[in-house]
Each structure stands twice: as C-alpha cells, then as structure tokens.
C-alpha cells in the first residue's frame, strides 16, 4: 500500500484552548489512485494534507508511506521524504518570484542533491515542455498568466518524479476555463498512473476523482467511489 494511516490525530494549541483538527483518521490509498478530499473549511482536510505531505507530523497515530513509518521522522528525514515522494501543487502557485521558470522547476532537483547542474536544467526544461511552457523558460512568474503559473507549479511538482501529487485547491485562484485546463492535466497524470490527491471544497473538482473522502469535524464522515 502506498499510503496508510492509522488513527491519526492532530491537536493544536491556540493559546489556552486546544483545537482538535484531526480526531482519528484511518485510511489507505493505493498506488495510481485518484482521490479527492472534500469538506468545508475547518473540517481538517488541510491538516490531513500537511501530514500526508510530511510538512507536519501527527499528534498520535501512525502514517506509513511505502510501508515505511514516516510519522516518527524529524526535520531532515521529513525533508527528504517531501523531496522524493511528494509533489505539491498549491492554490496560489507559490512560485518564487525572483527567479525564472527553469530555476523554479529545478528547485526540487537542487534540494535532492547529486544532480548535476546541466541535468537539472535538462530535466526542468523537459517537464516544462511537456506542460506546454517550452516557450516560457526564461520568464519570471509575474510575466505569466494564472494558468501558466499553475502549469509551472505542476511541472515543479513532477520534476522529481514523486510517488504522490498533492494538490491543495489547485483551481481556487483560476477562472473556470483555466481551472478546467488544470484539471485536464491532473486527469492526464492520473491516467498515466500517477497517484493524485486533491484537497478541495469544490464538488466539480472533486468529481474528477475516482474516490472522494468527505471530511467533517476531523474525521472521514463518508466515502464515495466511482
């Protein structure tokens, strides 16, 4: 199994108050699945994404990736898992504004280490090409449209060939036509066998997935499969 969680909880301390964002989430996602995590804000779906993406660790419970426990890892180890296994796609793209697309897309290769400079560039250009940005290589993010930016962000998520693409409201900042283009790309990735997990509150986005996990109050309230 690619992803397996067992009774994951997450508790935040907000001053004196304690907020339970996750209250025992147990789920399994196999390689190549196309999953949407849905729910209103505050339902815990973002927290789950952070934990699945190894940006955060659960308060209790176990998280296994490739049958290896990662919930026990700390700083350096988590960074390595994020780098190799996870490709993030954010709502607001999160491209670095001062460097061009090639440099942005090369970043995961840079942090991976042991990839020669020329190889980094070659790979970045290859992925950007595949996403139709071959003519935008030397452009800075602010010289691009929203759709182009999100495509660049997807290129960056794919460049290290991760096990999972984690997309957090990938169409949230885009108009509906551009949003559809981005969803087409994610569909295509899934069709090519990539594991895609989308976090969204938009039912039309979730409709692209084969499996939808409905979050409410920090637990999986319901699950739909198609």
């Amino acid at each position: 199994m690619l992803i397996q969680t067992e009774a994951i909880t997450k508790t935040y301390e907000l001053g004196a108050a304690q907020v339970q964002a996750l209250r025992g989430v147990t789920l399994a996602i196999g390689g190549g699945e196309y999953v949407a995590v849905m729910g209103p804000s505050g339902s815990g779906k973002s927290t789950l994404m952070h934990i699945l993406g190894c940006l955060d660790t659960p308060t209790s419970g176990r998280y296994m990736l490739h049958d290896q426990e990662v919930s026990g890892l700390a700083g350096q180890g988590l960074a390595r898992v994020r780098n190799k296994e996870i490709g993030f796609v954010f709502q607001n793209f999160n491209l670095l504004p001062r460097i061009d697309l090639v440099a942005n897309v090369s970043l995961p290769l840079l942090y991976r280490g042991s990839v020669a400079r020329a190889d980094r560039r070659r790979k970045a250009v290859e992925v950007l090409d595949k996403l139709g940005l071959g003519n935008r290589l030397e452009h800075k993010p602010n010289e691009l449209s929203g759709g182009e930016r999100q495509r660049a962000a997807i290129a960056r998520a794919l460049v290290n060939d991760p096990s999972i693409v984690l997309a957090d409201e990938p169409t949230g900042n885009l108009d509906s036509k551009t949003g559809r283009e981005i969803m087409d790309i994610l569909d295509r990735l899934s069709a090519e066998g990539k594991t895609v997990v989308i976090v969204t509150h938009d039912a039309s986005v979730a409709a692209h997935a084969r499996r939808v996990l409905h979050f409410e109050d920090g637990i999986v309230a319901r699950e739909d499969r198609r």
Binding site: H50, G53, L55, D56, G75, Q76, A79, R80, R82, N83, K84, F88, F90, N94, L96, R98, I99, A103, L107, P108, L110, Y111, R112, G113, R156, N160
Partner: protein, 411 residues
Amino acid sequence: MNLAESFAAGMQDMAGNRGRAIITTVGIVLGVASVVTVLSLMHGGQAQTLAYFEELGGLRELRITNSRSDRVFMTAAERASERLTYRDAQAILEECPSVLTVDPEIVRFLQVSYGDETFQMKVLGTTRHYPYADDMPVAVGRFLTDQDCENYANVVLMGPTYREDLFGSEDPIGRIITIEGIPFTVVGLMEKKEFYFRGGGGPGDRNVLEWFNLSHYIPITTMIKRFTVSDELGGLEIAARTVEDVAKLEEEVRTVLRRRHGVEDFEIDSKQEGVQEQAEQQRFFNIVFWAVAFVSLFVGGVVIANIMLSSVTERVREIGVRKALGASGRDVFVHFLVEALAVTSIGGAVGLLVGLGMTAAVDRFLGMPTALAPSIPLIAFMTSVAVGLIFGLFPALRAARLDPVEALRYE
C-alpha cells in the same frame, strides 16, 4: 544539497534582489574601509619610527655618556673619577668580548677659516668607526682612517652646510683650511642628511638631522693633542657584534667602567629603548584607531543583521515553499548564511577599495604617514567574512527553524 549548491542558490537570490543587497553592503563597506584606513595609519606610524631609528644608526649600538650631575652634590668618589676618557674607549675595545667597534667622540666649537672667511663650527673628534658613517656616506673624498688617528693627522671632513660659504663651487678636496690657526687638509665632504617627521606642521617642518650637516670631523687623537686639555670624551658609541649581544655588551661595559671610575657616573642607552618607547606611544594610538574601526564594523554588522532579519520575515512564504520542495533546515540555514556572506564579501571588496582611497586622502590632505601592508586585503576579507558569519547567524537560524506549515500559511 551540498555547500556549493547552497552557495549557488544564495547567490542566485542576491542577484534577484539587488536593491536590498546594495543597502546591506553599504554598512559593511564603511566598516571594512575604516579597518583598512586604520591599518594603513598604524603601519605608517611604525614604518616612520623604524625609519627614523635606522637613519640614526643601527640597533646594535649603545651610547655611553657622562651622567649629568651638579658638582656641588658630587660625592668624593665622583669627583675623583676622570669621567669618560679616550683610555676608557680603548679599555672597552680590549676587555669586552661582545664589542665590535668603539667610537669615542669629543665635540668642540672651534674657529674654522678659509681665506677671509671664518666661522665658529662644531668639530667632532672621532675615528673611522663613527657609527653614522655607513648611513651618511662621504659625498666626495674619503672618511677618517686608522692611520689618521695613529699619525695625529691634520685632516678634516666637512659637513655639507658650510661648504658653499667657504668654497662656493670650487672642489674642496685637497684644500687647506685652518682650525684655530692650525692648517688641516680637507680629505672629504659628507653627504647631506635629511629626515623630516611628517605632520609636524607642513612647510615649517625642520630637518631633525640637520646637526649632522653642520659638523666637521677630525681624528680624535688630533683633537686631543691639539684642542683639549684632557682626553675626556663627550660621548662614546659602541656597537655589539650582533643585535642579540647588545644586552650582554651593556653589562660588560658597565663592569669595565665601574672598575675604572670607581663609581657609576655614566649612562648607557640603547636605541632599542627608543624604539620601544616609540612603540608604546604608537600602541596608544593603535588602540584608539582599532576602537573606531571596531565601532564602524559593529554598526555595519548590526545593519546586516537587521536587514537579514527583515528579509527573513519578508520571505517567510518563500522559506515555506523551499521546505515543501524538500529543503531541510540545514539547507535554509546555509542559504541565508551564504547570502549574508555574499553581501559582506562584496562589501568587503568595495570597502577595501574605499579604504585605499581614504588612506590616500589621509596621507595627502592630513599629512599623516600611511603605509600599505601586504596583509591588508587578507585582513579586509577575513573581517568581512567574520562579520557576515556573526551577524548572519541569527537570521539564518531563524529562517532554518521556521515551521513549514506556518510559513506556507503566512500572508
């Protein structure tokens, strides 16, 4: 990510934000520039002191003089002593193993005439070991020889100052001048000696070695025979075999002279003491200089720390993104530290140039002596790296410790 790649990432970032880099650099430029200027001033002062003492003669020499004491308060033993004599000089030469040369001298102010011209002049009775002879070569002719002393020869070397007054443009060698009515053959002409301390007062600077130029030199034996009632010396210059032997020689001389005089009515001075004294004074100025340089560096460093900190705050989101893409805390730490180092290294290089300019200006317009030591570029570089490390450390740690989730959420 290895160090070289972190460096590349840091540099890439600097290039992307020139404005901030430039502002940050200004602080360090001023700091390094003042360090460079201070070092040049310090070296200049030291070099001038050493040059002065070298002009005066080497550091191997000791000067022995009669101690000044009022006759009224003299003890019987002091009164009985003959004071420093030419015979003392010969005894030192024979009895002190560490001695290389002995140069007794007797100074008198005597009437020197040539044709109708007569001047009252300083005449030094000395030997071929006159210690300044090496530093003050004979311009024309020769210096005194051992034969001159053995033969009580009536020969004289002229200082350059009166040469024109006496001879005009004529060649003085071989001419006869009279000293107190006794004819002397001119065998040589000393070269003009000049040494100006700079900053003493501009155009009014006095040649502190002018007294050399006013003197005439005759064999000491002739001086004793013709012009003095005793062989009492005004002073005695002796040289040790090596600089290391100077202290030993001082003791040997003290022993010999105490035995001969029965009392310690003489003083022995080494030029090293003078050098040390000058060095002490110099040290005080150096401390002040360093304090000024340190304050400027500190201010530059605080500016860097400040701007780096605000840059970390400004880039919290970016740090979150980098971490999401796989940057470890260490990667981010190195990244920010490298940025600080890049800024300070560039600042150091510019500061070095500005400092060299300031040094030239101080030298030119304030008339203070400066000297450029070869170590200055190295010190400037090391200083800027040190400032970058010290003041970049805290901001870099802060960046490294940011929680990625918090950082990504940051607006």
